[in-house]
Every structure is written in C-alpha cells, then in structure tokens.
Symmetry: C2
Subunit: 285 residues, 2 copies
C-alpha cells in the first residue's frame, strides 16, 4: 500500500523474509539516489560508499550484480524521482554472529522508486535535544540502524528539519543532510570520525565543487560558537543538492540567521549551487 515500486533482488516484490538480518538487527546499508532523466547522476559515488560500508559490516557487495539489477529496473520506472537501494546481510539464523563466507548466506538487495517530493531551496533548522552517540567504528557509513534519526525527528514539527549535535556538543549534521558552514571566508564541514553519515553530495562538494569555485574546504570539529558567527550555512544531500539555511533556532534563541543579499541568495552558497548545477543540472538551482 505504501510501497510504490519495489524490486527485491531484481524481482518485483512487496515484502522481505522476517529472517532478514536487515530487519532483525539493522544489518544492512542504504543509498538514496536522485533519478534524473532516467539516470542516476551520482551512481558511482553511491556504489563506492555502499561497497565501503559493506566491508565494515562484512556484507558481500556484488556491485556488478547490483548494476545489472539497476539496468533492468531503470527503464521500467519514471524518468524523475529517487531510488532507495538497500543492501542487507540476507537471511540469518537466530543470533548475532554472521557467516558471510557461508555460501548459503546471500545478501539481499532492495531497490525502490519514490517520486520526488516538493523540495525547498531554503530551510530552517531546529536544534534537536537528542544527541548522536559517539561510535567511531560505524561513523560515516549509511547503515540501517537509524533510531537516532527517528528520535531526533520526533522532536520536530511536521515538514521541518533538525540540527544534530554529538554527545560533546559538536555540530554533526541535519536529519538527512550534511552541513557546511562559511566561517571567516572558509567552508567548513563537521568531522564525521565519531558520528554522522558521510554523504556523497558532501564528498562531491569537498572534492570537486568547492575547489572549483576557488576555495579549499576543511573538515573539522564545529561547535555552536562557530555556527553563531558563521557567514553562511547550507545543508546538502544527494536528492536535493544544496539548500541554504536561513535560520537555526534552539536553546531558546536564534543560533544562526542568514544575511540576505538583494537577490535573496547567499552569495557564496549561490556560487556553489551554480557550479554544482553546471555539472549536474538536476541540482542546479
């Protein structure tokens, strides 16, 4: 009923076995990919991250098989929207141990289509009281243990986004986006060594887009003090691209407020959006 278009291991399906370790323990990974003109513009970055996360979770990741499934499925779907790909550790017996070398153990791949919901190019963030746990071994990867985001989302009004801190009060990310802060003329993004998800759009911006506009981004710890004196803030993800943050509120105060230029765009953020849009028109506004 809620499922729009779902394929499990390449076959149309609506359900998964209750013995899937993705369900039992969250033993799996996911990627949420923008579908544009029938293609997945950031597919390689997504598959790289999937493979890296699978290594951490000891899941065999057969990229060739996954690409084969995508080739088969993409022509059956609308040209615009988003695809959620989930790779789980497959079926398990009772108990935490996993035997990825056992030939009976076969990872499971779900690919699901969703239409693009109405996005916004400017957002307001509310500081969440819920703090992300420190977990250096799982930090960065996009696994299926997402109760942190569920708990944080429960604090927010409908259709709003939140700012998440770690246990020591460092800024980490938004609910499903990474964050960049322009501070003293330099773009900073939070270090994700101990918590958070390292988004592929974040990677693209760090490695290609921000250097292309002549700046050198830096990854470091960012506390609320830096945020409060930031010149610009934006969030980014692989579905929406770059969205200006107009305001961040929390602790009964305004933590950040964007200075509007006459064109109502934030100058440096607009440069990045334009550069991104040059190479990836779907993110170009």
């Amino acid at each position: 009923m809620f499922v729009t278009e779902l394929f499990v291991d390449g076959e149309p399906a609506e359900s998964i076995p209750a013995s899937d370790r993705g369900f039992l323990y969250g033993h799996g990974l996911f990627e949420t990919m923008r579908l544009w003109q029938g293609n997945l513009p950031l597919l390689d970055l997504h598959l790289d991250r999937l493979e890296s996360g699978a290594r951490t979770l000891s899941i065999v990741c057969d990229l060739k098989a996954i690409k084969h499934q995508l080739d088969f499925i993409l022509p059956k779907l609308p040209a615009e929207g988003l695809l959620k790909l989930v790779l789980t550790a497959g079926d398990g017996l009772r108990g935490y141990p996993y035997h990825s070398t056992n030939k009976e153990v076969k990872p499971r791949c779900l690919i699901q289509y969703f239409p693009l919901d109405g996005g916004v190019s400017e957002v307001r963030l509310k500081l969440c009281e819920y703090r992300l746990p420190d977990n250096p071994r799982l930090a960065g990867i996009k696994h299926l243990n997402r109760l942190d985001q569920v708990m944080a989302a429960a604090e927010l009004p409908p259709n709003s986004d939140g700012l998440l801190l770690d246990q020591t009060g460092n800024v980490i990310e938004a609910l499903s986006s990474n964050l960049f802060v322009l501070y003293q003329g330099q773009w900073l993004t939070p270090s994700l060594q101990r918590s958070g998800v390292a988004g592929v759009m974040r990677q693209l911006l760090m490695e290609q887009v921000i250097p292309a506009v002549g700046l050198t981004p830096r990854c470091q710890d960012i506390d609320l003090g830096i945020l409060q004196v930031a010149e610009e803030v934006f969030i980014c993800n692989a579905v929406r691209g770059v969205s200006s943050v107009m305001e961040i509120t929390g602790l009964n105060q305004t933590l950040f407020s964007a200075v509007r230029t006459p064109s109502s765009a934030l100058t440096q953020t607009a440069l990045i959006q334009a550069e991104l849009g040059k190479h990836y028109p779907c993110f170009g506004e």
Copy 2:
C-alpha cells in the same frame, strides 16, 4: 527456510512488508522469552520492559492484544523452547518522522518460536575490541538497532561469547547477557545509564533473587580493575538463567579466572542459581 514458526499479528506468516519501519530504521523492540511447559515464566517482566521501550520509541503498545495473540499461539507450539517477540512501529512512508497518532499507522507484532539450543552452564568470555556507544536516551531498552552486537560478534570465534565495554572502558555486558561481579563480598552489576540492554533476568536477580539469599546487589560503574580482582562473575539472561563465567581473556592476558571449589561450582553463584531455580525450575541448574 530459516523461519521455524512465525506469526505476524497473530497470523502465520513468513515475511513482513518492506515498508515496515522495523526494517527501514530498526524502529522497533524485541523480547526473547523462555518457553517452559507451555508457559512464559517471565512474561510480565518482558511485557513491562516492552511497554517501557515502546514509550521511548513512541510506539503504541497494546499489551492486551499482544497477550491475546500469545494465548492463541502458545497452544500451537512445542512446550519447550523460546519465543522471540518483535514489536515494530509498523509501516512508514519514506522519511524518519513517525506519526503514532495517525490511525493508519498500526504497530506490527511478530512472534516466532525457536527450539532451545544446547546451552552451557559455564562460559568463557573474550573481551571485544568493539566498544558500545554512549547513548543515554536509548540505553537499557531492547530496540532493533543491534549493529553493535553484530560488530562485536564478528570478533569472536564460533560458539563463544564476548565482554563488551563502553567508550570509556567500563564493563557493560556480554553479547546477549547481563553481567554480575562478586567484589569484596558484594554483587555488583554495571550501570546501564549510557549503554547496554537492561535484561529482565538482571531485574529479577536484583529485585528478588539476590536479596533472597541475604545480599544487597549494587548497580555501579565497573572497570576492568574491579573485574580483575573479582571473586566470582556470572552472566544471565531470560533464556538461560545464570551461567558461571570461568574465564575472561583479552588484551593478551587473563582478565579474570574463577577459583574452582571442590564441587566445581562457584559458591555464591551456586546459591543464586539454587534460589532462582526454586521459583523458576527452568532456570534451576
């Protein structure tokens, strides 16, 4: 194939919708209950904990309906074994926000039978390198985000159990058991304010069994230093009851080694096992 006997919302089933939030985010809880002579001896403790966890995760927990399902299912199952009960937040649209007050949102209850696997009354623990994250808001509850246990289990040889520490090096629990340490004549168990699962057997021992043998257990931070000079150590859970820990190894040394009495039982642990067995014969050896 792996599923032995599964009921979903009271009906025989083998799968769940891929839109279940238990699968998408681990937005759910579970209880693993000993089945003995056709009954669930610790059912009330399990349901209390389930209800408390559901409150934290904003899942509506209809205990009357769950009991009704159990009454219907129990006569269909073998008299001995264990039941795993999973309560999820039900089906979700894409996105983390959850609307538990929406009438279309219905939690999902899975009840699955497993035979009891051959247990051991004496165990050896290996210290895991993987550390549990600090997460005060989710600590104690038995939710479906279990990658911590999957990661820790991956370090262990087959059929062995591990000892888990938190980020600061405090002893928290075994892979799927709580831990008690006899130190200077007093039973201590780790504080689970920041990580770990608060087991119902732990609760039963703390509140009833240990006081009944004339001792006052204490819940506190326990570091490896305390463990190394402990007189006795045992682990406990709601399936196996109390198991003596004979040895704990890690960091290239023996961290704890039990002193055997002539009867090969640890004196104080044996007293607790006997007291537990008096009231719950299934845990009585």
